[in-house]
Symmetry: C2
Subunit: 689 residues, 2 copies
Amino acid sequence: MVTRSADRSAELRSPAQIPLRPRVAHSSAVTRTGRIPISDPTPAVPGGFAAKAFAGEVVPFRVVAFREGHDRIGVHVRLTSPMGVESLHRMTALADGTDRWQADIALDAQGTWQYCFEAFADDFATWAHAASVKIAAGVDVEVMSAIGGELLTRAAAETSRPARERAQLKKLAAVLTGGDAGAALAVAGDPVLASVFAEQPLFSLSSVSAEQSLTVERTRAGVGAWYEFFPRSEGAKKLRDGTVKSGTFRSAVKSLARVAELGFDVLYLPPIHPIGHAHRKGPNNTLDTAPTDPGSPWAIGAASGGHDAVHPDLGTLADFRFFVREARKAGIEVALDLALQASPDHPWVTSHPEWFTTLPDGTIAYAENPPKKYQDIYPLNFDDDPTGLGAEVLRIVRHWIAQGVKIFRVDNPHTKPLQFWEWLIAEVTAGEPDAVFLAEAFTRPAPLRALAAAGFQQSYTYFTWRNTKPELEEFLTGLATETADYLRPNLFVNTPDILTEYLQYGGRGAYRIRAAIAATAAPLYGVYAGYELFENVARPGSEENIDNEKYEYKFRDFAAAEIAGDSLAPYLRRLNDIRASHPALRQLRNLSVHWSDDDSVLVYSKHLDGAFTADGTSDTIIVVANVDPHSVRETTVHLDTTIWGIAPGDPYEVEDLITGAVWTWSDHNYVRLDAFSEPVHVLHVTSRA
Amino acid sequence: MVTRSADRSAELRSPAQIPLRPRVAHSSAVTRTGRIPISDPTPAVPGGFAAKAFAGEVVPFRVVAFREGHDRIGVHVRLTSPMGVESLHRMTALADGTDRWQADIALDAQGTWQYCFEAFADDFATWAHAASVKIAAGVDVEVMSAIGGELLTRAAAETSRPARERAQLKKLAAVLTGGDAGAALAVAGDPVLASVFAEQPLFSLSSVSAEQSLTVERTRAGVGAWYEFFPRSEGAKKLRDGTVKSGTFRSAVKSLARVAELGFDVLYLPPIHPIGHAHRKGPNNTLDTAPTDPGSPWAIGAASGGHDAVHPDLGTLADFRFFVREARKAGIEVALDLALQASPDHPWVTSHPEWFTTLPDGTIAYAENPPKKYQDIYPLNFDDDPTGLGAEVLRIVRHWIAQGVKIFRVDNPHTKPLQFWEWLIAEVTAGEPDAVFLAEAFTRPAPLRALAAAGFQQSYTYFTWRNTKPELEEFLTGLATETADYLRPNLFVNTPDILTEYLQYGGRGAYRIRAAIAATAAPLYGVYAGYELFENVARPGSEENIDNEKYEYKFRDFAAAEIAGDSLAPYLRRLNDIRASHPALRQLRNLSVHWSDDDSVLVYSKHLDGAFTADGTSDTIIVVANVDPHSVRETTVHLDTTIWGIAPGDPYEVEDLITGAVWTWSDHNYVRLDAFSEPVHVLHVTSRA
């Protein structure tokens, strides 16, 4: 666990964790307000849910604390680890008139942490400030010295201080009682003494805030590069008779090397279960289906089984386990889809009709959004037998956990009760703390956020629809600040359902721009297979691929494309390399937007202080992206370098991690970004003045 | 108690209060989330304090509620009055994608109200929507009719519905079972049936939020026009020997008619207690004091008494009571200053030295802000004997309540513990619910807001320092929204401590502009005597009046100035008249900022729906202010008239309540505002198309 004070000036950088003191009880039984008012503690989550972090995440703890008048206060955050170990961390006042205090702390141990804030009257700091001013002005010299003497005598009597320190304090107290103005002034300004009291303050009044919870999940819950493919396409073969032999888990194993070599570490598979035959959809979501059409994997359930079975075309459960094991060997974790709906052929339809809605005419209600009908899908009814259905879903999730899967991408969670998810995720993670659920909630902001707050470890977001500079500035800042205590964005650049107009019409530049931003702006991002081939033709009038893989097999020759220079793979590989070697990119909350004079040149930086890196050196990445894929832009970017500990105007070296170019930069810099070649700088600050 | 739905369209204006239903228990014991998620309830106050309203205030109740999928929900707010009477109010969805629901409710009874939100699946609305779409398209006609029949049969069985309604529902159920598509479509679209279910919904699933508290205080806590004068100046006479005979309560009584005639209804007196002699300050805060200098009223306490005494120069306690009674007869309530500090001559200094800070040299610490000294003032120490000092302050406040005073303007509350104020105000209002405390906390935003949240009924704000159009737009909007649940701004235009550069250098236009904005933007505003005389000369280098009344008597001839045309009194009188006749101006939360093309022309409106006015007609005031006191501005203002129920483009009549001019306006209007004559339009919408 590492702390860093929020203040950027070197001399105020606090010495991390400080000696533990016993807890002070909250003094007031009568008022809500403590003697030193404390309010607005964060991390905090709407609705009172526990805040979230991932192992290794640097979390800014903040609180508002002040006292009446001019006397100085200090504030600590007190952490209790999941093992019950307490630690105290000094906070720094943000010098912006907000009375907010901050300490950045990297949390390591997985589990539920408790935290509270303790504010106290900083008696020594109050005296030292007043004494410095007054004694220097020759005012009240004797009285100020005497007060200081009393304070140091009181401190020297504190048995919690080391004997040597106590002796030294006693000596200084005597100096103050001596009455020599110069000596007293020296004591008041003594930096060693100040640091002694910074480490163990001397205080009379104090307040403690209420305890709050923060759940630290495994690093993979918050950091990962995702890749999505349909296993049935991986190794699928066109036969002479025009039909297709489906890819299998065994054939898909051969694609693992490609995915690993691209640098992805999570591989998400659309549903792998038997697919229904009733009302099966044909190519491009049509109703006239040939017997050989494979159907949508989301139409789950057939005679051969439901959510706990694998599609016979893909192989056996043993084959699946083999696939998962081989993936793990390649450094890849497999994520499964959890789509809680059924085809009319699902075993539940006969065994548990109470889990569906039966209409007055005796039929089961299919999915619809009047007047649209989705007759191949029966939605579940969560209200008639919530206990039974809940137990079944829990059984299914645990079944897949038993097969080695711990990550679940949840299909349309916003069409099921929020209450159900809160319950399910709590149940699952109680037994498997490494479980991760990604919410595919493409819905309004309130339910999207509520799902995250209620327990989902990751969320799809509106990223694909945030393409202009102002949109991205607001969107990325919001993700790094407003919702970061509970919502972990997974910035997918495309999905089988989403091929935005930006990608359809933006050319290859658009693919580069979106990948570079997704990979650097958040620690979680994702790519659906085909993105690297610039697949950009949509079904007319829609924002999804034509000949959608949801309804048919895809045959992609990634290697040939790369040889021909028609692949984004090298670029993705480079981005994933950069992510792997730069810890600043594996944090969520460290993004700062900077100014550029061009309305399409987006600038942000990600910075991680040396206190939190393995080698102790700060890691600073500056991303400058021309988000107009149709133009070349030249402009000046204006950077607040103080965020990275570089004084305004000081020069520093940057290296473009994409091209290898090296420049000397300062706070105002010329850039030229050509959407047709390299639309994005990913700059690393390689040396500081 | 009156409700209005948040939706502006006439047909959705909800029929206020609806029939009471028994409470539904919160269904979930396992999850935080209810079956229908409910979150972000407001009114709400940081720190969990009770929200505030004043009797007659229209309070927007808001909450976020949604459910999974597309089914319709409804939301109620359930109020429990201080007498324990419950009422249910239907909320309206804000059609802005935020899943927020709103009901505007005017609260009448003083005391503590409870409120909670109930969300439910609106089974009829869900069916009616699906049925209208599907039956019209000839899809699932029989099934949809059958489902509707089941719903209406269920509703007809609800014994809480009137017998006639139940019979009618039964009949309609039979129509639906009849299977005629046209008839079924008519039932689904029947507005009468819709309103039956709007009033008493048919629902299966529901959730209830936690109970919250809201304190309704008397109207005067939230609405008032304040005037401030020093009673010692009112009737003060210069004697032949150059000395001054102080004004008294008896002579000040003669000024009450003037104040009442100006239209003010609260008169605030700076401290009326004996003034210390030790280190008494002379004119312009100097240290060389003549024996005849009256001293600062804030240096409280002398041989003749402390905070419970009146200054002998002003008369006796009986004289004071007479003054309070005479004021009341004139329609004016007297407010006293509560300045918790003492002169060195205060009786407490000898009787309770523990209420001060004694220094090592045995002297008592005076106020200072090193290196500045305020030797005429001893600050109180609230930590050595908090119980004793608290009891004494409570005794003093109750003493003045016994003299007929219920409003206290608290001097520098941010230099005393917040905890103390929370305790004191709760203690005082428990015995005297009409007590009102105004916080003079000219400090940082966090303590300013915390004092309001902890109990102060009113707050001075940064108003005097918000003078440009963008500053005012942000500031006034914040007061009407962000902090309105707990902070009631009292917009003083000047004080004995504040004469801003805007007033010093803005000429008479500046005085008009600031008065017009203060009087119309918030229901509480204030003026310190002399403002109407355009007193604008500051002590050089400061933002306060030269020859400050704090240290000397003032002789002002208001009548002569008015006769000479050198007085703002007629303008103030007009403003107070307008406030008295326009209920929209006596609300806090109904302010909307509108656009103008000029960077100094500020536009806002205050609107009160007819549901909340005595005569049932809506009251709409549009203020257009040229805030540049040095120029004439011509521009176009662009108004969102839908806020007032006027369709875009529709014409309406406005009357300028200052000049009597009448215009036909629409949503885009030309204005010309001359800072040297009439810098502000205060327009009343007198007729609508």
